[in-house]
């Protein structure tokens, strides 16, 4: 292996989107015939990087070399022509078309340049499917009727229907059960034997150890480690690279332990459960206290927050705010009881991107500025201004459209919404996702400031240092179950990582972001 020059080398790739720098000078080098793993949390830049590689995004700066030659990938077609195929996590198949039609989509075998040679398409599809170990898939069946695992095979067959030199697989094992994963690995091994390179994205460390040759770790849009040996690098080192701080975050000081203990329990959760997502959960958060939920993806973190917030209906259990039970399964009941949520996907779940900051902030408190439905816009502006000032939202002009703000300030707009509403409990789901590293410290100070005003804060984060630095008390989750509870000061990163990974040496995070 390792013939020089490398099959692919990317250097100094940067890519910015409004409000966030998704890639900040990433290098990646892939050799023919190797399985090169990309490791990183949500928002680390994995998705952006593979989209650059697939020609779907154009990098702002940086160079790409393909077999030693400089290239630019202007479009997905350009990437495909070079021999780069991408299998996205969200499979890009057309459900109503047959397997064969999907496999040959865009390059159908034709007669007279126009008529699709359906039989030829089917037989070549059948060949590809047997090569992938799934001769039982009928090329004539609509893709929508196939189970997820077989759809993935179809997706792979499509990639192989081109003359492919490099295949990017974005969390291919996410939807597969163990036997199917074994088959996937056989396929990957077969490909590499033929000299095809595979860029393999997964958050499952044990997989990376089984099939990976080298690992590049991404964090905050940078490659924090490149070309680590996949089999011999200690798990803890990889996880630390992914979750560890590479910038000294400044965390606000905590109030003394006495202060938190004396506060009244504001949020109480009793026996809350959703089967398959999280086990019966009891927790309480006192006024002024920040409680952190640490856990990996699939540990039920976000599901817990959304269930407390009423966006999901629990099978059993109670949520109480200030001792009064809140009707579960109703966001409106939760909001009027004093709960507020800053969701993980800010743009999709919280913000009205076409609207001004003012209107984004006031949307949950409209009746406060209204008489008989008539909005006193002066009062609305004043209140929104006061709330955004208190959180030092920049720019200091709530009339600007919220889409023009940076990630951190967009998050402040969401927090200002709940501050204005006068919420008692703030649920924060990955509050620094998509927030530039430099702006995080300020956001931490804002959250602590809100807690100091007597708000109970429940925080979910996949960044262990963030939970440890910001929370007073930490609940460690594993597979939907609280496995440990302790004051944050009694825990350190390694201890939490051990707890979080105990049964499965699984690293963090899934799903595309950035």
């Amino acid at each position: 292996m390792a013939p020089e020059p490398p099959l692919l080398s990317m250097s100094g790739i940067t890519k910015s989107f409004p409000g966030v720098r998704a890639l900040d000078g990433v290098d990646l080098e892939v050799q023919a015939g190797e399985v090169h793993c990309l490791l990183g949390q949500n928002g680390a830049g994995k998705s952006t990087l593979i989209k650059v590689l697939a020609g779907a995004h154009q990098p702002d700066t940086g160079r790409l070399h393909w077999r030693g030659e400089p290239v630019t990938l202007r479009s997905p077609i350009a990437a495909m022509r070079l021999g780069i195929a991408t299998i996205y996590q969200e499979l890009d198949l057309v459900e109503h078309l047959s397997v064969a039609e999907n496999v040959h989509l865009g390059h159908e075998p034709t007669a007279a340049g126009f008529f699709v040679r359906r039989r030829a398409a089917r037989s070549s599809t059948a060949q590809l499917l047997s090569r992938l170990g799934h001769p039982e898939i009928d090329p004539a069946r609509p893709v929508g009727e196939l189970p997820a695992a077989q759809q993935q095979i179809v997706s792979m067959a499509r990639a192989l229907s081109h003359d492919v030199r490099l295949i990017v697989m974005d969390e291919p094992s996410a939807a597969l059960d163990p036997e199917e994963v074994d088959n996937l690995f056989r396929i990957v091994a077969g490909l590499t034997d033929d000299g095809v390179a595979v860029v393999y994205i997964s958050h499952r460390l044990e997989e990376i150890r089984r099939i990976g040759d080298r690992v590049t770790v991404l964090k905050d849009g940078r490659a924090v480690a490149g070309g680590l040996p996949a089999r011999s690098t200690p798990t803890r080192e990889m996880v630390a690279l992914m979750t560890g701080r590479n910038v000294e975050y400044v965390f606000p000081d905590r109030p003394g332990p006495a202060a938190a203990r004396e506060g009244d329990p504001v949020l109480q959760v009793r026996g809350l459960v959703r089967e398959g997502e999280f086990a019966p959960l009891d927790l309480q958060v006192r006024a002024g206290e920040i409680v952190g939920l640490a856990g990996l993806v699939g540990s039920g973190r976000s599901e817990i927050l959304e269930t407390i917030y009423g966006a999901r209906k629990p099978m059993a259990g109670q949520v109480l705010v200030d001792g009064r039970p809140v009707r579960t399964g109703s966001v409106r009941a939760a909001v009027s009881a004093g709960l507020g949520l800053a969701p993980e996907e800010r743009k999709a779940q919280a913000l009205l991107m076409l609207e001004s900051v003012t209107r984004n902030v006031s949307v949950s408190s409209l009746s406060r500025f209204a008489r008989a439905g008539w909005i006193d816009r002066g009062a609305e502006r004043g209140a929104a201004r006061a709330a955004t000032r208190e959180l030092s939202l920049r720019p200091d002009n709530p009339a600007v459209p919220v889409r023009t703000l940076s990630g951190g300030n967009q998050q402040k707009a969401v927090l200002a919404r709940w501050l204005l509403r006068g919420c008692r409990v703030l649920l924060l789901d990955e509050p620094t996702r998509g927030v530039d590293v430099g702006a995080r410290a300020e956001l931490y100070a804002v959250v602590r400031g809100l807690a100091d005003e007597g708000i109970a804060v429940l925080l979910v984060s996949s960044e262990v240092p963030e939970v440890l630095g910001l929370a007073d008390r930490v609940l460690v989750l594993r597979e939907g179950r609280v496995v440990h509870t302790a004051p944050a000061r009694d825990l350190d990163e390694h201890r939490v990582l051990d707890l979080v990974m105990d049964a499965h040496p699984v690293a963090s995070e899934g799903s595309p972001a950035s």
Binding site: D253, V335, A348, L351, R359
Partner: protein
């Protein structure tokens, strides 16, 4: 404890915020490129009308006619604009206008006189809107499908009621509203109704919690839900409102034509959607402008009028309408990309 890093309070100085300008500057600042360009188009049309048919076009009676003709579709467009702003669509408006107009002009209804006709038209409109709203908001149906079904059913019902006949209105109180004697300061009552509906629609969208929630639901339903807005109830209300507007429009149409027909309101849905879209309302929801919609209606009715005065047939009119829709949307995309 002690020195936790507190966020700086109070912010920086008191720079004049852009959202608190004096009224006239606020108006000019907000009368964005889009509104100005629509006014420009309207001005050009008036100019063309004035040049090609100087005597007829600028005649008071003709201008009254243009406004009167615009009033019926205008009222429908106000309701449509609100629905589209919320991310929905109402394809049934024309059919509801037809059904309301024939139901309100049956012999039985006419026995109750003016009040009976008005009340019936409004109630039929509200009833259809209620069904639309329930299907969309609580039945989980796609608005396009639910209102398409309403379109078909309401048209069918209207045909059933009339059996294809034109129902002549004999109630003097209704008919007299269309006559010149009842003009207020030279303005036909129909136009006044349109103006009132427009003002109410504008206030509703821009000054009330209802309007804010409408925009929020249209801009990002999931965010609206997680912000504590009752998205389904909001949607129900919006289709009810659109139905109400159709009922009012049906009443105006009865005054205008002195009859009720099952073919009334033909293709109103397309005219209303087109007017809203060229006015600047986003078809995907989240941004709506009543002002733009009204200008859109006026542009379309003025074109129709100028073409009629110049003896150009409806086929040419329709081609021109299509071209205008395309041009308006292209221009909007251009401006949206540059700002």
């Amino acid at each position: 404890m002690t020195q936790h890093v507190s966020p700086p309070r109070g912010g920086t100085g008191k720079a004049a915020p852009a959202d608190r300008l004096p009224l006239w500057r606020g108006l000019t600042a907000r009368a964005d490129v889009r509104t100005l360009s629509l006014l420009g188009v309207l001005a050009v049309l008036v100019l063309i009308g004035g040049i090609t048919k100087p005597d007829e076009f600028l005649d008071t009676r003709n201008l009254q006619l243009v406004l009167t003709q615009g009033s019926v579709i205008g009222v429908v467009t106000v309701g449509m604009t609100l629905v589209i702003t919320s991310g929905g669509i109402d394809l049934s408006v024309g059919a509801i206008v037809a059904l309301a107009s024939v139901w309100a002009t049956t012999v039985a209804t006419q026995e109750y006189g003016f009040g009976g006709i008005l009340l019936t038209a409004v109630l039929v409109g509200l009833g259809c809107g209620l069904v639309n709203g329930l299907l969309v908001a609580y039945g989980g149906m796609v608005p396009f499908i639910a209102t398409l079904a309403m379109l078909a059913s309401a048209r069918g019902l209207a045909l059933q009621i009339t059996d294809g006949r034109t129902q002549i209105v004999t109630v003097d109180g209704v008919l007299s509203l269309g006559e010149r004697d009842s003009y207020v300061l030279g303005i036909p009552p129909l136009v006044l109704v349109f103006a009132v509906v427009t003002v109410i629609g504008w206030l509703l969208l821009n000054r009330t919690t209802f309007g804010r929630r409408t925009v929020a639901v249209g801009g990002n339903p999931e965010a609206a839900r997680l912000a504590g807005i009752d998205v389904r109830r909001q949607r129900l209300y919006l289709y009810l409102l659109s139905g109400l507007c159709c009922g009012i429009a049906a009443f105006l149409l009865i005054i205008l034509s002195g009859s009720g027909q099952n073919t009334n309101g033909n293709l109103y849905e397309l005219d209303a959607i087109a007017a809203a879209i060229i006015g600047g309302t986003l078809l995907s929801g989240g941004r709506g402008t009543i002002t733009g919609s009204v200008l859109g209606v006026l542009i379309f009715t003025t074109i129709t009028n100028i073409f009629a005065l110049n003896n150009l047939q409806t086929d040419v009119q329709q081609i021109a309408k299509g071209a205008i829709i395309v041009a308006a949307v292209l221009v909007q995309r251009r401006t949206a990309n540059t700002t």
